[in-house]
């Protein structure tokens, strides 16, 4: 019984890591957004499963948020932004995709070793989820660091968030999870970024951060 | 009584150096002339010169200041005091402890200081050249002198000339340091007295003058006082060499007139020999270019330092 719950939870969390890798692998903007939607959906499933096995009905809220907001609304919105702004459909990378993936594998290994070693006392489910969450977090960061486009950086950031919500739900009985997920995902990821994207659009022709970076405060 | 005798002896010494100084000048000039196969002026000529100068009117430059007029007397006084404090015929005179060798050096320095200043007072280029070069020589000669003082002081354990002289009388031995000090002292003496090869006391060629250049604007009694001061300085250095390196014959402290008599005789003899050697040296060497002088004085400085170092080190054996 317990084994089964655990296996499913394990599978879903592991699935997220896998999807994170898929995110890293994408080189087309729309594909990226689609994969991100998948990421959110898997997160949603995972959180819902946790709600189920922890008998914590309030956790269904973050699951729903993840599904609706990040699985549907944000990808669609970004999709339209990309079209409307005429943003390049290709993702510019700093490091080639192959090396990035290799790096990602190393990061996952690192987080596994660190987490599994550290959380020996925690229950196995939480432990593995934490390890996966850390992996997702690091992969998200890696994505932000190795992609030049603003959209992919936003996606990277949101995948970090997904990881965090996974960790928060895996931490059994953690208070404020709902609040945190609401505050975090809704407020941070969309509104403000949206506002800024809009303003940046107003001022500049591109949300490509490199173009933005041309306007340095102090360049001679 | 003892005090009065002491005061008399001290007074005699003061007067002695004053009287003797022009004589030494006349003597060296005469000797020099002889060595150069000339007849030369009479030995007493310096006295006559001084008297004649004193009687002449003073021609002052228009912009000469009070310093210019009072300078010669201060120069003279400082030199005279220094000369009078060097034991000549007797050690440990009444006021011999007033100033030790360092102070005597500094007194000579005072007179040089004023001489250089008055050289600049009128604002002529020759005066400036003299002052400037004189101070450059001094900047090397004075440390050399200090090194000599140090060497002697380390040897005798005192900077008091009387004590040094007594030490040399009793503990004389040939020491490398002493030899070095002697050579250094001779070099310094030549430089300080503006003798060949550093300067030519007889020159009146403008660009080679150093000592004379500073006195160029002086005339009459002022010049007389300055000339006398120069003569005193020469005597001073000869006395100094005599007192330190050939101290024999000097009367010890508190001895009677007889001892003073022999002391005086031996002193005169030493000065005579010293003057002779000086002249011989001077006639056998040519004057240097101005910027060779620092090397010459540098040798003195090095010798002095070497002598002192040797002593510092040998003290521990």
């Amino acid at each position: 019984m317990n084994g089964f719950y655990l296996d499913v939870a394990h599978m879903l969390a592991g699935g997220m890591v896998l999807v994170s890798f898929m995110l890293l692998y994408q080189d087309r903007m729309f594909a990226l957004l689609n994969v991100f939607a998948l990421h959110a959906i898997v997160l949603s499933a995972s959180v819902a499963w946790q709600a189920f096995i922890q008998h914590a009905p309030h956790l269904y809220v973050p699951a729903a948020i993840a599904l609706v907001l990040k699985g549907i609304i944000i990808p669609v919105a970004l999709h339209r932004v990309v079209i409307r702004l005429g943003i390049h459909r290709e993702i510019e990378t700093v490091v080639g995709i192959g090396p990035t993936l290799l790096l990602g594998v190393a990061l996952v290994a690192l987080s596994m070793v660190v987490m599994l070693k550290a959380a020996e006392t925690a229950d196995p489910l939480a432990r593995e989820d934490l390890a996966f969450a850390l992996s997702i977090l690091l992969l998200g960061l890696l994505m932000m660091v190795t992609r030049r486009n603003a959209v992919s950086q936003i996606v990277g950031f949101m995948s970090i968030e997904n990881g965090l919500i996974l960790a928060a739900t895996a931490a059994r009985g953690m208070p404020l999870v709902v609040e945190i997920s609401v505050a975090f995902s809704v407020l941070v990821a969309f509104i403000v970024i949206g506002v800024f994207l809009f303003r940046i659009r107003e001022r500049f022709d591109s949300v490509d951060l490199q173009a933005l970076d041309e306007f340095r405060g102090e360049r001679r | 009584m003892v005090l009065i005798l002491g005061l008399i002896a001290q007074g005699v010494q003061m007067m002695l150096v004053l009287v003797l100084a022009p004589l030494l000048l006349g003597y060296t000039r005469k000797l020099r002339a002889h060595l150069l196969r000339r007849r030369g002026p009479p030995i007493l000529q310096p006295y006559r010169d001084l008297l004649r100068l004193i009687r002449k009117e003073v021609v002052l430059a228009e912009n000469a200041s009070w310093l210019f007029r009072s300078g010669p007397y201060m120069i003279f006084a400082a030199t005279w005091v220094a000369a009078a404090l060097i034991p000549t015929f007797a050690t440990r005179l009444q006021f011999s402890w007033t100033a030790d060798l360092i102070a005597i050096t500094a007194l000579i320095g005072s007179s040089r200081f004023f001489l250089a200043l008055v050289g600049m007072d009128v604002g002529t280029s020759f005066g400036g050249i003299g002052s400037s070069r004189e101070m450059m020589f001094a900047s090397l000669a004075e440390p050399a002198m200090m090194m000599i003082v140090f060497t002697l002081a380390l040897l005798a354990g005192s900077t008091e000339l009387s004590v040094v002289a007594e030490f040399m009388q009793t503990n004389a031995s040939l020491r490398v340091s002493l030899g070095l000090a002697l050579i250094a002292l001779i070099i310094v003496a030549l430089a300080e007295n503006a003798r060949i090869p550093v300067d030519n006391p007889a020159t009146h060629l403008e660009l080679t003058m150093v000592h004379e250049a500073m006195m160029l604007e002086y005339s009459g009694r002022h010049l007389a006082v300055l000339e006398l001061a120069s003569a005193l300085k020469l005597l001073l250095y000869l006395s100094l060499i005599a007192c330190i390196f050939i101290p024999w014959g000097m009367a010890p402290a508190g001895s009677g007139p007889a001892a003073y008599g022999t002391g005086l005789a031996s002193y005169l003899a030493k000065i005579g020999v010293g003057g002779f050697l000086l002249v011989v040296f001077e006639t056998s060497i040519a004057k240097m270019r101005v910027f060779r002088v620092p090397d010459f004085l540098g040798i003195a400085l090095m010798l002095g330092l070497l002598g002192m170092l040797l002593l510092f080190v040998s003290r521990s054996f």
């Binding site: 660190v114 987490m115 070693k117 550290a118 959380a119 020996e120 006392t121 925690a122 939480a126 934490l130 969450a133 850390l134 977090l137 960061l141 932000m144 950086q153 950031f157 970090i160 968030e161 990881g163 965090l164 960790a167 928060a168 931490a171 059994r172 009985g173 953690m174 208070p175 404020l176 609040e179 945190i180 505050a183 975090f184 407020l187 941070v188 403000v192 970024i193 800024f196 303003r199 940046i200 001022r203 933005l212 970076d213 306007f215 405060g217 102090e218 | -």
Partner: protein, 486 residues
């Protein structure tokens, strides 16, 4: 939820939170700039009174809020600087309105955000729940992001964007750290809200899993360290300071950095209690020194006066973190004192800089000169401020630097030498620039500044007084805190 509400029956503590929150709403509705600025001052003043009264009647620790010696220092400091800044802001922002850099609508937004920021910071400081603390700091960050971008120039938006992205990543890291702390606490304390209550955590921290705590601290250090502005996480700080309105620069440097630092200190205390955990000291020392030396070098090439002082904030945060990293009663005391002094001094400097920039019509150092000649009060105020921030006596920062350096040199000579090196390099840069700003032939426009000098000189007077005399009560208080910090 009930517990949360129950907290609000305690008077001063409630007031500290309620007043800003309520005023924020009010200000959002108030159209008149004049009234808004005054209401702003009034509200911050009332908050200050409430904060000071916390010193005398301290409520017992609740599940969500609590006050102890440590956060009381921060609360009083925050509310005080918030009050003086609001006074400064009233005269500063009016000028911005006159020259048309801001519209009345912007100002309404600005004032509301100001109070929201105060609320967020006070909440972060009084929170007894590490989750609540995280939420509050997050809120504070977001409000400042909006305020930094308020001028909507290229540079301002860029600065806000940079601040936002880096801040968000920091926030994410901090949240992960918070979750990990909860994970570490759960086996000991049990599930539920208790495992996030700080007072409970500190009581039981000795039996937490040290490995988890270690990882948590790494994340928290990076997360909150971003807010503190530690190098190399500092990148948002100079631009945010330089491009936002000056009152916000003052609040950022003087307060927000402290709030993040406070969070860091709380977690440091958790680690310090646990015997198996990594000593947090060396990590903080390293980052502190790195920030100090890095910022000191960065000071040299700055052309923008506000950006320069922003780097100086990084430098001082480095010193403070270094001091807390060293630990021990002397260094902790010094760190605390340094933090207070730095807040007061740096905000005073920003007050001066704000008026200077308005008088000169620019923030470029090259276009200012001879200020002591053209605007003597501002010029000398700036000189005094820089003298203070550079750690010269008889001003307060000297005392804390004295304690940090001497106590470090006796324990870790090599570290002290690095510290001294950084201080000296920074010193050289500050005075190099000060010389050209305050002295020499006057340069640039020489408009009369219509300024309220009271806040600036009030701060400097306090710093001066502290450099000479510290009241014994304050000392005992700080010493208690130093003991708390271990």
């Amino acid at each position: 939820m009930n517990g949360f509400l129950a907290q609000f029956t305690f008077e001063p503590l409630t007031a500290v939170l309620i007043i800003p929150a309520a005023t924020a709403g009010l200000l959002a509705l108030l159209p008149s700039y004049w009234a808004a600025a005054r209401l702003n001052v009034l509200a911050t003043f009332l908050t200050l009174i409430a904060a000071v009264s916390l010193l005398f009647s301290r409520p017992p620790a609740g599940g969500y809020l609590f006050v102890d010696d440590l956060n009381n220092v921060f609360i009083v400091l925050t509310t005080f600087v918030a009050f003086t800044t609001s006074v400064f802001s009233a005269s500063y922002i009016g000028h911005e309105l006159e020259i048309g850099r801001l519209t009345p609508l912007h100002l309404r937004f600005y004032h509301a955000m100001y109070q929201t920021l105060m609320f967020a910071m006070n909440l972060g400081l009084t929170a007894n729940n590490i989750g609540l603390m995280w939420v509050a700091i997050e809120l504070a960050t977001l409000t400042t992001v909006l305020m930094v971008g308020i001028y909507r120039t290229h540079e301002a938006l860029e600065a806000a964007w940079k601040y936002f992205i880096l801040g968000s990543v920091g926030i994410a890291l901090a949240l992960f750290g918070t979750i990990l702390v909860y994970m570490a606490a759960r086996p000991v304390i049990g599930e539920g809200a208790d495992a996030m209550v700080w007072t409970t955590l500190i009581d039981n921290a000795s039996s937490f899993s040290p490995e988890l705590l270690n990882i948590a601290f790494v994340f928290l250090l990076l997360g909150y360290g971003t807010k503190v502005g530690l190098a190399p996480l500092h990148a948002w700080l100079p631009d945010a300071h330089a491009e936002g309105p000056t009152p916000i620069s003052a609040v950022l440097s003087g307060l927000l950095l402290n709030v993040a630092l406070y969070a860091l200190l709380r977690f440091k205390m958790l680690l310090a209690v646990n015997p198996g955990a990594l000593a947090p000291g060396p990590l903080m020392i390293t980052l502190g020194l790195l920030s100090l030396i890095f910022a000191a070098f960065m000071l040299y090439r700055r052309r923008d006066i506000k950006r320069m002082f922003a780097y100086s904030s990084i430098e001082h945060m480095g010193i403070i973190v270094f001091a807390f990293g060293m630990g021990g009663p002397l260094a902790n005391f010094a760190g605390l004192l340094h933090m207070v002094m730095h807040s007061l001094t740096k905000s005073a400097i920003f007050f001066a800089v704000g008026h200077i920039a308005q008088a000169k019509g620019t923030q470029k150092i090259a276009e200012m000169g001879g200020l002591t000649e053209t605007n003597p009060v501002l010029g000398w105020g700036l000189v005094l401020g820089v003298v203070a921030i550079a750690g010269l006596p008889p001003l307060g920062i000297f005392m804390s630097e004295f304690l940090v350096v001497t106590s470090t040199f006796a324990r870790q000579p090599a570290l002290a030498i690095l510290l001294v090196f950084g201080l000296l390099v920074g010193f050289g840069a500050l005075f190099l620039r000060l010389n050209s700003i305050a002295f020499g032939e006057p340069r640039g426009a020489s408009a009369e500044a219509t300024a309220s000098y009271v806040p600036m000189f009030a701060h400097l007077a306090l710093v001066f007084a502290a450099g000479i005399y510290l009241p014994p009560q304050l000392v005992i208080w700080f010493q208690n805190v130093a003991k708390l910090l271990g």
